[in-house]
Symmetry: none
């Protein structure tokens, strides 16, 4: 089952709560397991440049079933996946994108957050994903 | 003043209410007066192809400060704006996109709706825009 | 459930059988319900230009849950969806793309065929879709 | 002679056999010597993000008549081909793409594999290429 809009809204709500708690202004995107946009929310005063980054982080996370930051470790110069960002019309491979995995270990979508430091982006994405389950997934998650 | 997220959420809420009333499944996009995405909501079972159309309708409406359908009348073969859809990385020029104009006659953003007939798309967009003001704007509205 | 590769292969096999029967050279694409490519087959001597058309037809069919030719009727000059082809990075709206609907009425993907007349393209796509179920779907099919 | 669909299917079959042997879920793309897609196969549970990467690896291999990983060595920061990934609508320059060279030393196409580590991707691509000949080609192979 792809993520429902009810669940997408819940994830965004929790992400916003966290974003406010740490005093940041975020763009938050939710995609389904086909990497198609389900919901998007830009807080007032969030960077306009973060719109596309948040969406690309969510897509990247669902594209490969892993946190975006994990891909970024492998895409540095000299590393195995150097240049992977050129695929899929542009990936974002630094932290802030996380798969959303339900209680059965199935990846139902992903969340992407952009608007502050990558640590803050990751923290807000985590809050959103955990509202629905987890982003800690098996080595190769099933996709709905 | 660009549209606030509070107002964007209110417009989406009213649009959803109307969409349900007429038994449709819609994608609803809100952009600010810079044509940058502010909020997006895809109802469960809405067409995946409507994601991009809803966003492009909202952008098109704010790009030219008029309902998308008005542009479509001018972009037919033999008409003055024939082919305008090729600009701005793709316009959608049939009904379903409307500027959002506040009580001072200032265009603060736009709403784009896709998922049903163009009549239904227009009706849902109207409900969203009217939650914040109107889409009936002066010949050339002020932009925030 | 997205279309499986076993089923995608079966649809392609039936499409090829039909293509040979009517003495044509086809490109055949299968996408899942997220519009992501699952399988592709270009018969020897098929047009190179048909590669992208077959893929876009499959995507278009799943984007809107209907045969591509139905959209094309509505996208003619003066019709309600004129210019819709500018969305989603390019649609193909003439016949040859069909949703694939399982026995529960759920759209699990789509098939796109290009390489001959639109009548032949449609006939081959029909053979492929019917290998798995049907493309005659409810007014608004559920998506996996 | 461009690769035939019969041969493309044989290469994919061998690649799948290898992919299963090492317990991976792969996207496998075959292009002809014009870099145009001939066949594509996404195993169930393969990453959606690997679709485009597999296709781009195959194209990259045929574009330059060499294994993708060889180009990647030259495209690192400070190296002669730094940034080459920006050409041709996006290259992938890490391992997993291999030319397919027939027994006469003629490059008839290429295979691109994505879905696991670059070592596994390369192993599966090798199995596919070797089903038809080799990927070890003369300094500048003839192209059909």
């Amino acid at each position: 089952m792809h993520i429902t809009i009810e669940n997408a809204a819940k994830a965004i709500e929790e992400a916003i709560r966290k974003a406010r708690e740490i005093d940041t202004f975020m763009c938050i995107a939710i995609v389904d397991s086909g990497a198609d946009l389900k919901a998007f929310h830009r807080m007032d005063d969030a960077w306009v440049g973060s719109i596309d980054i948040a969406i690309k982080k969510a897509k990247t996370a669902v594209f490969f079933g892993m946190p975006t930051g994990e891909i970024g470790k492998l895409s540095q110069p000299g590393k195995p996946l150097y240049g992977i960002e050129h695929s899929n019309q542009g990936l974002i491979t630094f932290p802030g994108g996380l798969p959303i995995v339900d209680k059965d270990g199935v990846m139902i979508g992903a969340i992407g957050v952009s608007g502050s430091s990558v640590e803050n982006d990751h923290a807000v994405a985590t809050a959103g994903a955990q509202a629905l389950g987890t982003w800690e997934l098996p080595a190769h998650p099933w996709r709905t």
